[in-house]
Protein backbone atom coordinates (compact mmCIF):
# COMPACT_ATOMS: atom_id res chain seq x y z
CA UNK A 1 0.00 0.00 0.00
CA UNK A 2 1.18 3.48 -0.84
CA UNK A 3 0.98 5.10 2.61
CA UNK A 4 1.80 8.67 3.58
CA UNK A 5 3.17 9.70 0.18
CA UNK A 6 2.31 13.21 -0.92
CA UNK A 7 0.01 13.32 -3.90
CA UNK A 8 0.84 16.02 -6.44
CA UNK A 9 -1.10 19.22 -5.91
CA UNK A 10 -4.57 18.90 -7.29
CA UNK A 11 -8.24 19.62 -6.86
CA UNK A 12 -10.31 17.67 -4.37
CA UNK A 13 -14.02 17.75 -5.17
CA UNK A 14 -16.80 16.33 -3.00
CA UNK A 15 -20.32 15.80 -4.29
CA UNK A 16 -23.39 15.10 -2.15
CA UNK A 17 -27.04 14.49 -2.97
CA UNK A 18 -29.06 16.83 -0.75
CA UNK A 19 -32.15 15.32 0.84
CA UNK A 20 -31.12 11.78 -0.07
CA UNK A 21 -32.32 10.40 3.27
CA UNK A 22 -35.71 12.06 2.82
CA UNK A 23 -35.90 10.89 -0.80
CA UNK A 24 -35.12 7.32 0.21
CA UNK A 25 -37.75 7.40 2.95
CA UNK A 26 -40.34 8.79 0.53
CA UNK A 27 -39.56 6.73 -2.56
CA UNK A 28 -37.86 3.56 -1.34
CA UNK A 29 -34.51 1.86 -1.80
CA UNK A 30 -34.86 0.96 -5.49
CA UNK A 31 -35.38 4.57 -6.59
CA UNK A 32 -32.66 5.72 -4.21
CA UNK A 33 -30.21 3.26 -5.74
CA UNK A 34 -31.15 4.42 -9.24
CA UNK A 35 -30.48 8.01 -8.17
CA UNK A 36 -27.02 7.08 -6.86
CA UNK A 37 -26.22 5.26 -10.07
CA UNK A 38 -27.36 8.24 -12.14
CA UNK A 39 -25.08 10.54 -10.12
CA UNK A 40 -22.10 8.23 -10.60
CA UNK A 41 -22.79 7.79 -14.32
CA UNK A 42 -22.96 11.54 -14.87
CA UNK A 43 -19.79 12.11 -12.85
CA UNK A 44 -17.76 9.42 -14.60
CA UNK A 45 -18.97 10.73 -17.95
CA UNK A 46 -17.76 14.23 -17.14
CA UNK A 47 -14.35 13.45 -15.63
CA UNK A 48 -11.20 14.41 -17.55
CA UNK A 49 -8.92 11.52 -18.51
CA UNK A 50 -6.38 12.07 -15.71
CA UNK A 51 -9.03 12.49 -13.01
CA UNK A 52 -10.62 9.78 -10.90
CA UNK A 53 -13.33 8.93 -8.43
CA UNK A 54 -11.36 8.40 -5.21
CA UNK A 55 -14.21 6.86 -3.29
CA UNK A 56 -17.93 6.46 -2.87
CA UNK A 57 -19.25 8.28 0.19
CA UNK A 58 -22.73 6.80 0.34
CA UNK A 59 -24.80 9.56 -1.20
CA UNK A 60 -21.80 11.41 -2.60
CA UNK A 61 -18.44 10.99 -4.26
CA UNK A 62 -14.89 12.19 -3.66
CA UNK A 63 -13.06 13.19 -6.83
CA UNK A 64 -9.42 13.98 -7.63
CA UNK A 65 -8.68 16.21 -10.60
CA UNK A 66 -5.04 17.24 -11.17
CA UNK A 67 -5.79 20.51 -12.99
CA UNK A 68 -7.66 23.31 -11.20
CA UNK A 69 -9.04 24.67 -14.45
CA UNK A 70 -10.24 21.25 -15.52
CA UNK A 71 -11.73 20.71 -12.06
CA UNK A 72 -13.65 23.97 -12.26
CA UNK A 73 -14.88 23.19 -15.77
CA UNK A 74 -15.86 19.66 -14.75
CA UNK A 75 -17.72 20.80 -11.63
CA UNK A 76 -19.63 23.42 -13.60
CA UNK A 77 -20.45 20.88 -16.33
CA UNK A 78 -21.72 18.55 -13.62
CA UNK A 79 -23.79 21.32 -12.10
CA UNK A 80 -25.53 21.69 -15.48
CA UNK A 81 -25.98 17.95 -15.98
CA UNK A 82 -27.41 17.48 -12.49
CA UNK A 83 -29.75 20.40 -13.16
CA UNK A 84 -30.89 18.87 -16.47
CA UNK A 85 -31.49 15.53 -14.76
CA UNK A 86 -33.54 17.29 -12.08
CA UNK A 87 -35.58 19.02 -14.78
CA UNK A 88 -36.29 15.62 -16.31
CA UNK A 89 -37.72 14.33 -13.04
CA UNK A 90 -34.72 12.84 -11.23
CA UNK A 91 -34.21 14.93 -8.07
CA UNK A 92 -30.45 15.14 -8.29
CA UNK A 93 -30.03 18.04 -5.89
CA UNK A 94 -26.28 17.76 -5.83
CA UNK A 95 -24.06 20.19 -3.99
CA UNK A 96 -20.32 20.34 -4.51
CA UNK A 97 -17.27 21.57 -2.59
CA UNK A 98 -13.85 22.08 -4.16
CA UNK A 99 -10.42 22.82 -2.71
CA UNK A 100 -6.89 22.86 -4.07
CA UNK A 101 -4.29 21.10 -1.98
CA UNK A 102 -1.72 18.40 -1.52
CA UNK A 103 -3.20 15.47 0.44
CA UNK A 104 -1.40 12.26 1.44
CA UNK A 105 -1.99 9.05 -0.45
CA UNK A 106 -3.12 5.97 1.43
CA UNK A 107 -3.38 3.27 -1.18
CA UNK A 108 -5.98 4.57 -3.61
CA UNK A 109 -7.41 6.86 -0.97
CA UNK A 110 -6.45 10.45 -0.19
CA UNK A 111 -6.32 11.73 3.38
CA UNK A 112 -5.23 14.80 5.29
CA UNK A 113 -6.21 18.34 6.19
CA UNK A 114 -7.03 19.36 2.62
CA UNK A 115 -9.48 16.47 2.31
CA UNK A 116 -11.10 17.34 5.65
CA UNK A 117 -11.34 20.96 4.62
CA UNK A 118 -13.06 20.04 1.34
CA UNK A 119 -15.64 18.05 3.29
CA UNK A 120 -16.29 21.11 5.47
CA UNK A 121 -16.67 23.31 2.37
CA UNK A 122 -19.28 20.87 1.09
CA UNK A 123 -21.16 21.25 4.39
CA UNK A 124 -21.71 24.94 3.65
CA UNK A 125 -23.11 24.39 0.14
CA UNK A 126 -26.79 24.18 -0.68
CA UNK A 127 -28.55 22.08 -3.30
CA UNK A 128 -27.19 22.75 -6.78
CA UNK A 129 -24.33 24.91 -5.52
CA UNK A 130 -20.59 24.74 -6.13
CA UNK A 131 -18.46 26.34 -3.41
CA UNK A 132 -14.72 26.65 -3.76
CA UNK A 133 -11.92 27.71 -1.42
CA UNK A 134 -9.65 30.68 -2.02
CA UNK A 135 -6.84 28.20 -2.78
CA UNK A 136 -8.95 26.63 -5.52
CA UNK A 137 -9.87 30.07 -6.84
CA UNK A 138 -6.19 31.07 -7.01
CA UNK A 139 -5.24 27.83 -8.75
CA UNK A 140 -8.03 28.24 -11.30
CA UNK A 141 -6.68 31.70 -12.14
CA UNK A 142 -8.31 33.51 -15.02
CA UNK A 143 -10.69 30.59 -15.63
CA UNK A 144 -12.78 32.27 -12.96
CA UNK A 145 -13.14 35.32 -15.18
CA UNK A 146 -15.63 33.49 -17.35
CA UNK A 147 -17.96 32.49 -14.53
CA UNK A 148 -19.98 34.14 -11.80
CA UNK A 149 -17.92 34.08 -8.62
CA UNK A 150 -19.60 35.44 -5.49
CA UNK A 151 -17.64 35.86 -2.29
CA UNK A 152 -19.37 34.30 0.71
CA UNK A 153 -16.86 35.76 3.12
CA UNK A 154 -14.76 34.16 5.82
CA UNK A 155 -16.40 30.98 7.02
CA UNK A 156 -15.64 29.55 10.45
CA UNK A 157 -15.69 25.75 10.33
CA UNK A 158 -15.74 23.20 13.12
CA UNK A 159 -12.37 21.51 13.53
CA UNK A 160 -10.60 23.92 11.17
CA UNK A 161 -8.53 26.46 13.14
CA UNK A 162 -8.46 29.26 10.56
CA UNK A 163 -11.41 30.95 8.92
CA UNK A 164 -11.79 29.92 5.29
CA UNK A 165 -12.77 32.38 2.55
CA UNK A 166 -15.29 30.70 0.25
CA UNK A 167 -16.72 31.54 -3.16
CA UNK A 168 -19.95 30.46 -4.81
CA UNK A 169 -19.32 29.71 -8.47
CA UNK A 170 -21.81 29.25 -11.28
CA UNK A 171 -22.08 29.86 -15.01
CA UNK A 172 -25.20 32.01 -14.62
Amino acid sequence: MNVGVDASPGAIVFTDIVGFTQFTAARGDAEALALLELQERLVRGALPQDARVVKDLGDGLMLWIPSARAALRTALDLQERFGEAADEGSPLWVRMGMHWGCPKRRGDDLVGHDVNLTARILDVAGAGELLISAAAARAAGDALGAVVCEELGPVVMRGIPDQVPLYRVSRT
Binding site: A26, R27, W93, A127, V156, M157, R158
Partner: protein
Protein backbone atom coordinates in the same frame (compact mmCIF):
# COMPACT_ATOMS: atom_id res chain seq x y z
CA UNK B 1 -15.92 56.45 25.79
CA UNK B 2 -19.60 56.15 26.66
CA UNK B 3 -20.54 55.29 30.22
CA UNK B 4 -21.17 51.57 30.68
CA UNK B 5 -19.37 50.60 27.47
CA UNK B 6 -17.00 47.62 27.36
CA UNK B 7 -13.51 49.00 28.05
CA UNK B 8 -12.26 47.11 24.98
CA UNK B 9 -14.71 48.97 22.70
CA UNK B 10 -13.13 50.50 19.61
CA UNK B 11 -14.21 53.06 17.04
CA UNK B 12 -12.82 53.03 13.49
CA UNK B 13 -13.71 55.03 10.37
CA UNK B 14 -16.59 53.61 8.35
CA UNK B 15 -15.86 51.47 5.30
CA UNK B 16 -18.19 50.04 2.67
CA UNK B 17 -17.85 46.55 4.18
CA UNK B 18 -17.70 45.08 7.67
CA UNK B 19 -16.41 41.54 8.20
CA UNK B 20 -16.99 39.82 11.52
CA UNK B 21 -15.83 36.34 12.46
CA UNK B 22 -15.86 34.50 15.75
CA UNK B 23 -15.70 30.85 16.70
CA UNK B 24 -18.51 30.84 19.24
CA UNK B 25 -20.74 33.30 20.96
CA UNK B 26 -23.46 35.44 19.48
CA UNK B 27 -22.72 38.12 16.88
CA UNK B 28 -24.91 41.21 16.62
CA UNK B 29 -24.37 43.78 13.86
CA UNK B 30 -26.51 46.89 13.84
CA UNK B 31 -26.92 49.19 10.85
CA UNK B 32 -27.90 52.64 12.11
CA UNK B 33 -27.54 56.35 11.53
CA UNK B 34 -23.85 56.88 12.28
CA UNK B 35 -20.70 57.72 10.35
CA UNK B 36 -18.18 55.38 11.97
CA UNK B 37 -17.95 51.75 13.04
CA UNK B 38 -18.20 51.07 16.75
CA UNK B 39 -17.05 47.66 17.87
CA UNK B 40 -18.91 47.75 21.12
CA UNK B 41 -18.06 44.41 22.62
CA UNK B 42 -16.14 41.16 22.22
CA UNK B 43 -13.46 41.96 19.64
CA UNK B 44 -10.12 40.21 19.79
CA UNK B 45 -8.83 42.34 16.92
CA UNK B 46 -10.15 45.16 14.75
CA UNK B 47 -8.43 46.19 11.53
CA UNK B 48 -9.37 48.54 8.75
CA UNK B 49 -8.07 48.37 5.19
CA UNK B 50 -8.91 47.75 1.56
CA UNK B 51 -11.19 44.84 2.50
CA UNK B 52 -13.15 47.01 4.91
CA UNK B 53 -13.35 46.78 8.67
CA UNK B 54 -12.41 43.31 9.90
CA UNK B 55 -13.46 42.27 13.39
CA UNK B 56 -12.31 39.01 14.91
CA UNK B 57 -13.73 37.64 18.13
CA UNK B 58 -12.67 34.54 19.98
CA UNK B 59 -15.64 33.56 22.12
CA UNK B 60 -18.37 35.49 23.84
CA UNK B 61 -20.70 38.07 22.39
CA UNK B 62 -19.53 40.43 19.63
CA UNK B 63 -21.51 43.61 19.01
CA UNK B 64 -20.75 45.95 16.08
CA UNK B 65 -22.57 49.15 15.13
CA UNK B 66 -22.07 50.53 11.61
CA UNK B 67 -23.67 52.99 9.20
CA UNK B 68 -26.96 52.00 7.57
CA UNK B 69 -26.43 50.26 4.24
CA UNK B 70 -23.05 48.73 5.13
CA UNK B 71 -22.28 45.44 3.41
CA UNK B 72 -21.64 42.64 5.89
CA UNK B 73 -19.81 39.34 5.90
CA UNK B 74 -20.30 37.44 9.16
CA UNK B 75 -19.16 33.96 10.07
CA UNK B 76 -19.36 31.90 13.25
CA UNK B 77 -19.14 28.21 14.06
CA UNK B 78 -21.70 27.88 16.81
CA UNK B 79 -23.04 31.26 17.82
CA UNK B 80 -26.15 32.96 16.58
CA UNK B 81 -25.93 35.92 14.20
CA UNK B 82 -28.34 38.83 14.42
CA UNK B 83 -28.35 41.69 11.90
CA UNK B 84 -30.48 44.60 13.07
CA UNK B 85 -31.42 47.89 11.48
CA UNK B 86 -30.78 48.56 7.80
CA UNK B 87 -27.83 46.91 6.06
CA UNK B 88 -26.65 46.44 2.47
CA UNK B 89 -25.62 43.17 0.87
CA UNK B 90 -25.08 40.60 3.63
CA UNK B 91 -23.47 37.16 3.70
CA UNK B 92 -23.82 35.15 6.90
CA UNK B 93 -22.67 31.63 7.73
CA UNK B 94 -23.03 29.70 10.96
CA UNK B 95 -22.55 26.01 11.53
CA UNK B 96 -25.24 25.57 14.15
CA UNK B 97 -26.42 28.99 15.24
CA UNK B 98 -29.64 30.71 14.31
CA UNK B 99 -29.51 33.64 11.88
CA UNK B 100 -31.87 36.60 12.19
CA UNK B 101 -31.81 39.40 9.63
CA UNK B 102 -33.98 42.49 9.90
CA UNK B 103 -33.76 44.65 6.76
CA UNK B 104 -31.19 44.34 3.99
CA UNK B 105 -30.64 44.90 0.27
CA UNK B 106 -29.57 41.33 -0.54
CA UNK B 107 -28.95 38.32 1.68
CA UNK B 108 -27.08 35.04 1.58
CA UNK B 109 -27.58 33.17 4.86
CA UNK B 110 -26.56 29.60 5.54
CA UNK B 111 -26.46 27.35 8.58
CA UNK B 112 -26.36 23.62 9.00
CA UNK B 113 -28.81 23.16 11.86
CA UNK B 114 -29.99 26.59 12.96
CA UNK B 115 -33.08 28.45 11.84
CA UNK B 116 -32.90 31.42 9.46
CA UNK B 117 -35.26 34.37 9.57
CA UNK B 118 -35.17 37.36 7.20
CA UNK B 119 -37.74 40.09 7.82
CA UNK B 120 -37.26 42.23 4.73
CA UNK B 121 -34.95 41.92 1.73
CA UNK B 122 -35.23 44.43 -1.10
CA UNK B 123 -33.48 42.21 -3.63
CA UNK B 124 -32.40 38.58 -3.74
CA UNK B 125 -32.60 36.46 -0.62
CA UNK B 126 -30.83 33.10 -0.55
CA UNK B 127 -31.19 30.91 2.55
CA UNK B 128 -29.73 27.48 3.01
CA UNK B 129 -30.03 25.07 5.93
CA UNK B 130 -29.79 21.33 6.39
CA UNK B 131 -32.32 20.91 9.17
CA UNK B 132 -33.29 24.38 10.31
CA UNK B 133 -36.48 26.23 9.43
CA UNK B 134 -36.39 29.10 6.93
CA UNK B 135 -38.65 32.15 7.19
CA UNK B 136 -38.67 35.20 4.93
CA UNK B 137 -41.07 38.05 5.53
CA UNK B 138 -40.82 40.13 2.39
CA UNK B 139 -38.37 39.79 -0.52
CA UNK B 140 -38.30 40.33 -4.27
CA UNK B 141 -36.68 36.99 -5.12
CA UNK B 142 -36.02 34.06 -2.79
CA UNK B 143 -33.87 30.99 -3.27
CA UNK B 144 -34.54 28.67 -0.33
CA UNK B 145 -32.98 25.28 0.28
CA UNK B 146 -33.38 22.88 3.21
CA UNK B 147 -33.23 19.12 3.56
CA UNK B 148 -35.63 18.73 6.45
CA UNK B 149 -36.65 22.13 7.74
CA UNK B 150 -39.88 23.99 7.18
CA UNK B 151 -39.96 26.82 4.60
CA UNK B 152 -42.14 29.92 4.89
CA UNK B 153 -42.09 33.10 2.82
CA UNK B 154 -44.86 35.64 3.38
CA UNK B 155 -44.56 38.07 0.45
CA UNK B 156 -42.32 37.31 -2.53
CA UNK B 157 -42.40 37.97 -6.27
CA UNK B 158 -40.31 35.06 -7.44
CA UNK B 159 -39.14 31.94 -5.65
CA UNK B 160 -37.00 28.88 -6.11
CA UNK B 161 -37.44 26.35 -3.31
CA UNK B 162 -35.96 22.92 -2.74
CA UNK B 163 -37.21 21.21 0.40
CA UNK B 164 -36.78 17.63 1.56
CA UNK B 165 -39.31 16.70 4.18
CA UNK B 166 -40.46 20.03 5.57
CA UNK B 167 -43.59 21.85 4.47
CA UNK B 168 -43.41 24.84 2.13
CA UNK B 169 -45.72 27.85 2.53
CA UNK B 170 -45.39 30.77 0.10
CA UNK B 171 -47.31 33.99 -0.24
CA UNK B 172 -46.74 35.34 -3.74
CA UNK B 173 -47.36 38.93 -4.81
CA UNK B 174 -47.42 39.81 -8.53
CA UNK B 175 -46.59 36.28 -9.60
CA UNK B 176 -43.33 36.10 -11.53
CA UNK B 177 -41.76 32.64 -11.57
CA UNK B 178 -42.23 30.23 -8.70
CA UNK B 179 -40.39 26.93 -8.85
CA UNK B 180 -40.80 24.52 -5.94
CA UNK B 181 -39.51 20.97 -5.54
CA UNK B 182 -40.20 18.96 -2.41
CA UNK B 183 -39.74 15.31 -1.52
CA UNK B 184 -42.34 14.58 1.13
CA UNK B 185 -43.44 17.93 2.51
CA UNK B 186 -46.66 19.63 1.49
CA UNK B 187 -46.59 22.83 -0.57
CA UNK B 188 -49.12 25.64 -0.08
CA UNK B 189 -48.98 28.75 -2.26
CA UNK B 190 -51.22 31.79 -1.96
CA UNK B 191 -51.44 34.06 -5.02
CA UNK B 192 -53.19 37.44 -5.39
CA UNK B 193 -56.91 37.27 -5.89
CA UNK B 194 -57.76 37.21 -9.59
CA UNK B 195 -54.30 36.28 -10.87
CA UNK B 196 -54.03 33.66 -13.59
CA UNK B 197 -50.56 32.08 -13.60
CA UNK B 198 -49.48 29.28 -15.88
CA UNK B 199 -49.34 26.19 -13.68
CA UNK B 200 -47.45 22.90 -13.72
CA UNK B 201 -48.38 21.05 -10.56
CA UNK B 202 -47.21 17.46 -10.06
CA UNK B 203 -47.68 15.57 -6.79
CA UNK B 204 -46.37 12.01 -6.99
CA UNK B 205 -48.78 10.51 -4.50
CA UNK B 206 -50.25 13.57 -2.81
CA UNK B 207 -53.33 15.58 -3.69
CA UNK B 208 -53.37 18.68 -5.89
CA UNK B 209 -55.75 21.61 -5.40
CA UNK B 210 -55.59 24.75 -7.53
CA UNK B 211 -58.15 27.54 -7.17
CA UNK B 212 -56.67 29.73 -9.94
CA UNK B 213 -57.80 29.82 -13.51
CA UNK B 214 -54.63 29.18 -15.55
CA UNK B 215 -53.34 32.03 -17.68
CA UNK B 216 -50.17 33.94 -18.38
CA UNK B 217 -49.68 35.94 -15.16
CA UNK B 218 -46.28 34.41 -14.41
CA UNK B 219 -45.61 30.73 -13.84
CA UNK B 220 -46.03 28.30 -10.96
CA UNK B 221 -44.11 25.04 -11.20
CA UNK B 222 -44.42 22.71 -8.23
CA UNK B 223 -43.32 19.09 -7.95
CA UNK B 224 -43.54 16.88 -4.89
CA UNK B 225 -42.83 13.18 -4.53
CA UNK B 226 -45.46 12.53 -1.90
CA UNK B 227 -46.60 15.82 -0.39
CA UNK B 228 -49.84 17.55 -1.31
CA UNK B 229 -50.00 20.80 -3.32
CA UNK B 230 -52.46 23.61 -2.89
CA UNK B 231 -52.62 26.92 -4.75
CA UNK B 232 -55.18 29.33 -3.40
CA UNK B 233 -56.14 32.95 -4.01
CA UNK B 234 -55.99 35.39 -1.12
Amino acid sequence: MMVGMDPSARVVPAERTVRVTTRSGPVTIIGEDRSDVLVEQGADSVTSGSRGVEVTGRSGAVVVRCPSGTDVFAGTASGSVTLRGVLGSVHVTSHSGTIQIERVDDADARTKSGNISVDECAGACRCCSKSGHLHVGRARVVDLMTASGKVEADEVHAATVRAGSGSVTLGVTDVDTVDVEAHSGSVAIAVPDGSHPATELHAGSGSVRCDCIPGTDGALRVATRSGSISVVER
